[in-house]
């Protein structure tokens, strides 16, 4: 079966510990303190990662604009999705508000990032 797959290869061995061209780096660790109020739990992480998060969300908006050039899709994110926050359960609603505050990213865009999975199961 593998031979028929143009992208397949024989099973790899001795690739651990990770190194070489398929290894792009280690992953940093952050502590999320559940004793803090939900709106403050993500402050440190988002303070460090807000630029990277803005980049991803901007790319998602660019793709949405490519599909809906009128800008309607992005308008819905900015005006309608933000209203969804009041319907989301505690503590997640408060955590999302905290992430928006800590990153300076509009709340509607943070909601979009958090419901991405649900949207892309079609």
């Amino acid at each position: 079966v593998l031979a028929e797959d143009p992208f397949g290869e024989d099973c790899r061995s001795k690739t651990y510990p990770p190194a070489g061209p398929t290894f792009k780096g280690t992953v940093p660790t952050y502590i999320i303190n559940l004793d803090l109020p939900p709106s403050r739990r993500w402050d440190k992480l988002l303070s460090d990662k807000k630029i990277e998060l803005k980049t991803v969300i901007q790319s998602i908006k660019n793709i949405a604009n490519a599909f809906v050039p009128s800008g309607k899709a992005v308008e819905i994110v900015d005006t309608k999705l933000v209203r969804l926050i009041s319907t989301l359960p505690y503590p997640f609603n408060e955590e999302l508000k905290g992430i928006a505050n800590a990153s300076g990213i509009p709340l509607g865009e943070i909601v979009l990032f958090n419901i991405f999975y649900e949207i892309f199961t079609v």
Binding site: F7, T22, T26, T29, I31, W42, L46, K49, E95, T121
Partner: protein, 253 residues
């Protein structure tokens, strides 16, 4: 995504996954890669959720996402979630939510709740099987005792299938990609067959986190959508994540 739960000859359980994301979300011609996949890599973090300065659970996450796609409750269970594509997808669940039907649970919120509050493998399994969802999914759950491992295939309403580990009966591992196990995967996206081939070739007596990393490093299980690989060993509460890159002749998914 590709998730694997495996049991070694001594009954020790391992759980690992490749997190693949970004399909059809913009192709970077110059770098021959998916735009969102590449941009997500700097957002990958390991989170140690603590209460009273003690670890409650750990997860591998995207910064800014409050749900969970991979997590470990040390000494108790491990959990990963794979996307399940369906016409009865999450967009219907969202419309229902907006229209006022709110008895379903958001996917990431459920996995987070299970990791935060679950006290046993069986309790976690029951919650993942019974809770009404906004979107379909595969939940891959591992425990800390022999036989504790399963793939739960979920529609929005119900569990369609539960595939349990049974090492004595020959099922010493379960592999889930993004297809129902009773159906053949899409011909152009068969990661299940090579994953099973490599697991069988490895053999139960040699299974370990390093040898599972080998399986997850084999193309097309490793592909252009692969953001990171996570390895978990529940009894020691061990969790490691590594950013991945598939360069050269690689499957685009």
């Amino acid at each position: 995504c590709t998730s694997i739960v495996a049991e070694d000859k001594s009954g020790k359980l391992y759980h690992a996954r490749n997190l693949d994301f970004g399909l059809f979300l913009g192709w970077d011609i110059k770098n021959s890669s998916w735009i969102i996949t590449q941009e997500l890599k700097p957002l990958v973090v390991t989170l140690d959720f603590q209460r009273n300065n003690k670890t409650v659970f750990k997860s591998t996450n995207f910064a800014g996402y409050v749900g969970m796609v991979s997590g470990i409750k040390p000494g108790i269970f491990t959990l990963t979630m794979n996307e399940r594509f369906s016409l009865d997808g999450g967009y219907i669940g969202i419309f229902e939510w907006i229209l006022g039907r709110r008895d379903g649970m958001w996917m990431g919120f459920l996995t987070r709740t299970v990791l935060e509050n679950g006290t046993s493998y069986q309790e976690a399994k029951d919650q993942l099987v019974k809770t009404r969802l906004l979107a379909p999914a595969y939940f891959i759950l591992g425990g800390n005792k022999s036989g504790e491992g399963c793939v739960i295939t979920r529609s929005r309403q119900a569990a369609l299938d539960i595939w349990d580990l049974d090492a004595n009966g020959g099922t010493w591992y379960v592999v889930e990609t993004n297809y129902d196990r009773w159906k053949a995967p899409l011909v152009l996206d068969d990661r299940r067959t090579p994953a099973m081939k490599c697991m069988n070739q490895t053999k139960q007596e040699n299974i370990s986190l390093p040898t599972i990393y080998d399986v997850l490093s084999t193309k097309p299980i490793l592909n252009k959508l692969t953001v990171c690989t996570t390895l978990m060993e529940v009894s020691e509460g061990r969790s490691e994540s590594y950013l991945r890159e598939c360069i050269g002749s690689c499957s685009p998914w």
